[in-house]
Amino acid sequence: MRRGYRGPLRGLIMGPAALVLGIGGALAAAPADAAPGKAEVYLVDGLLGVPVAVVLDGREVVASAPPASVVGPMAIDAGPHVVTLQAGGRTITGARFTVTSGQSIDLVAHRAADSGQVPRIVVFRNDLSPVGPSKARLVVAHAAVAPPADVRLGGTTLFHDVSSGEALSLLVPARSYSVDVVASAGSDTILGPVRLAVRAGTLTRVFAVGDPSNGTADVVVQVLPVPVVGAGRPRSVPTGDGGQAAESYVADGPDLRPPAVAAALALVLLVLLVRGGRGRLVRLHRRRS
């Protein structure tokens, strides 16, 4: 699916409400891969503070992105770039990053553990490789001010000991999940549980952001389409047409196949022997011995 460059911004802002409402409605289709020589970049604002202006290579691409939003895709040339986030004319944070042709990445701005530090920007690559029918790739990324965490789906722990700056990926059936994030040490709830609707043929990325210690834990959800590859459900599984391995046979209709012919001959012989009486059988035995 190569649709090429479609303008600087054609994307989605999705806050936690998407979790409740189901993700479908707010999602704009994004190209599954970038045009030649281009890369696609999304900015995930996990600062949870004030709306920010997103400035890419010195050009303001979004004047005011709300907290917990996703900005993009921004189609940019392969090579080095600079992104800054600004509020009130002041730079909150910024970083240099480099993309290669065809890449799709997220720049995730999130707060540091020490509130006196400049917020960080972390790069995550979007895995847009195909998924199977009725499936999605679910990625949970830890960008919160919190210790290593376990991520649970429907009460089952599927991600263990995820540290800040780490992401884990799962192929999951498309449906609704209850997601919660708990500290790996102890069981303090970092987030949730929240309902997450995961649609087939998507890369669904969940970013845990904020700081549970001051009640600002939140999630940002990003949904990107990915190709679906794989066969449908079989109508039949025809795994034998020889009969050499058969241990029994269906007895209807004439049968001229070798095993059946042999069986029929044996039956005829048996009938003849029985009709011939016990004496003939005895004679046969005597001849053999």
Binding site: P16, L47, R120, A141, H160, S236, V250
Partner: protein
């Protein structure tokens, strides 16, 4: 550990950064520039992005999560100065994609409890909806519509001939000997996964597609081995049943 990135992971991240993506350089130290330019707090009124710059509609904060973000304490905000040149900005750190545990892979071979080993190839469907079964009776097929080995949900389906009119008895004739408790191993390269057999059953061939459990995308992870079984119909050259062996991952 109370909060944030442990120092050792931070160091590991920086090392990975340099080793894997040299392009990110060594400018992490430039963080100091931002630190040096001072902080304040500030808050902007929300302005709607206009025209081509529109990025969609803002979504209300969810009732299930946290109060409106604007009620949060302000962030430390660096004061933009002419000294904040692009070259002075730090490189973005590289998020770590943790490999899936257990590994997720397309099976390349299957080893039955008696040591019988068969290569596995991906298979789709014929035009009539029948699963493609490799012609070579020593080779079996992995259904591409099902789960890969190691996925958290759904059936990994592997099917092979019990026999073939032209190629003789197949490797999956051995499935008829399997009993619950035995272990089947699937692998690919360095990857390997073990499954313990929990049941073996015969399903009428005409009904196998209606069995929701065999081709389940959802549900618990399981390995499904399929061949033919039951009485052979020499007229139609087919078996009446499919033999279905179900196995669960060994932790």
């Amino acid at each position: 550990m109370t909060a944030g990135l442990p120092p050792d992971r931070s160091g590991r991240g920086a090392a990975a950064l340099l080793a894997v993506l040299g392009v990110y350089g060594v400018a992490l130290v430039a963080t100091g520039v931002l630190s040096a330019i001072g902080f304040g707090t500030g808050r902007l009124p929300v302005r709607e992005a206009a025209g081509e710059e529109s990025v969609g509609r803002p979504v209300q904060a969810a009732p299930v999560v946290v109060p409106a973000a604007t009620t949060l304490p302000g962030l430390p905000v660096g004061v933009a100065t002419p000294s904040l040149r692009p070259s002075a900005l730090p490189s973005a750190s590289l998020g770590t994609d943790i490999p899936a545990r257990p590994a997720v892979f397309v099976p390349a071979q299957v080893v039955l409890p008696d040591g019988t080993t068969a290569p596995v190839v991906p298979v789709g469907l014929h035009g009539d909806g029948a699963l493609v079964i490799p012609d070579d009776v020593r080779t079996v097929g992995w259904w591409t519509g099902g789960s890969k080995v190691g996925e958290a949900y759904g059936s990994v389906v592997v099917a092979g001939h019990v026999d073939s009119a032209t190629r003789g008895i197949g490797v999956f004739a051995e499935l008829r000997q399997l009993v619950p408790g035995q272990v089947v191993t699937v692998g690919a390269g360095a990857h390997q996964a073990r499954y313990r057999i929990i049941s073996a059953m015969r399903v009428p061939q005409a009904q196998i597609s209606q069995d929701a459990g065999i081709f389940a995308v959802d549900g618990p992870p399981q390995l499904i081995l399929v061949t033919c079984g039951g009485a052979f119909d020499p007229v139609r050259h087919r078996y009446q049943d499919n033999l279905v062996v179900v196995a669960a991952p060994v932790a």
